[in-house]
Symmetry: C2
Subunit: 143 residues, 2 copies
DNA sequence: TGTTATTTGCAACTTTGTTGCAAAAGGCGT
DNA sequence: ACGCCTTTTGCAACAAAGTTGCAAATAACA
């Protein structure tokens, strides 16, 4: 699946197929949780920090990835599910952060409930971070 | 209201009444939106950066303030509504960030809807950031 | 007012975010 | 396969934010 898919993805967004970009998307695809820039730097340590930074910025602008808010202030990123465009992120699923393993995952199955704002406020988008204990850590506890 | 209330608040949490702490709480009380450390540094520029940092950390641990997620990665803080303790933050209201004025406010009137997680996940708490245009900026547009 | 534990300011350092510029590499027509 | 042109990368450099240790200053309380 991977290599071809990655090339297609990049071409869809009119991006050149460079090693770095392919590797970064590869990391996102094989990880099941959101990735921060420091995470990327560890995994792909043969690329310059700035290159990874710019790669993330590019992907973010194109709508390939979206930001995942984190309670530590560290920004994490995850692949968009496919409905995002350069101009609007239609990716309002719940993000779940495990307080044990500290991984943050996208829970696509659960979408963000509709929010009714007070009069005078206009709704653009929403980002919901739920904290708790994930399935894997839960299982470990009950060994 | 202010001075006495601030002293009471600090005493409730067994904290010494220092100038810095009183001033920081004062800023939180008079602001209607969440405050970041850089915000504090500008307003209270006669205190050392580190002192403000440690004051925020202390307040956070005691449950006097809570973190407000921000889409820029910059951490903001706001006063807790009174139900938070050292061990649990029961402060699940919606946070609203205006994309015009960039202020983030707590909307106490709107609470975070109940979220049903997939099997195996345990819910601890949730943080919901809604982005849009606030009442004030909306009004400005229609001058 | 004096003693003690806490808090503050300073110095120093780490990590993350950001920009400019020249060298390297991708895409495309031939 | 080659060369040209545009985009991307790596390096250097700097800005901003987070974090720790330690000695001096200060709050609490007798």
């Amino acid at each position: 699946m991977s290599a071809d898919n990655i090339n297609m993805l990049l071409k869809t967004y009119n991006l050149r197929l460079t090693e770095c970009r392919k590797d970064v998307i590869g990391v996102f695809m094989e990880q099941h949780h959101a990735v921060s820039q420091p995470d990327l730097e560890l995994r792909l340590n043969h690329y310059d920090r700035v290159t990874l930074y710019r790669t993330l910025t590019t992907f973010l602008n194109k709508g390939i990835i979206h930001k995942v808010l984190d309670d530590t202030g560290l920004t994490k990123y995850a692949l968009c599910s496919g409905h995002c465009t350069e101009h609007h992120h239609a990716d309002e699923h719940v993000h779940f952060k495990c307080i044990k393993c500290e991984n943050t995952i996208c829970i696509d199955a659960v979408s963000v409930p509709a929010i009714t704002l007070p009069d005078g406020f206009t709704y653009l988008d929403a980002n919901l971070l739920v904290r708790g204990i994930c399935k894997i850590c839960q299982a470990k506890n009950n060994h």
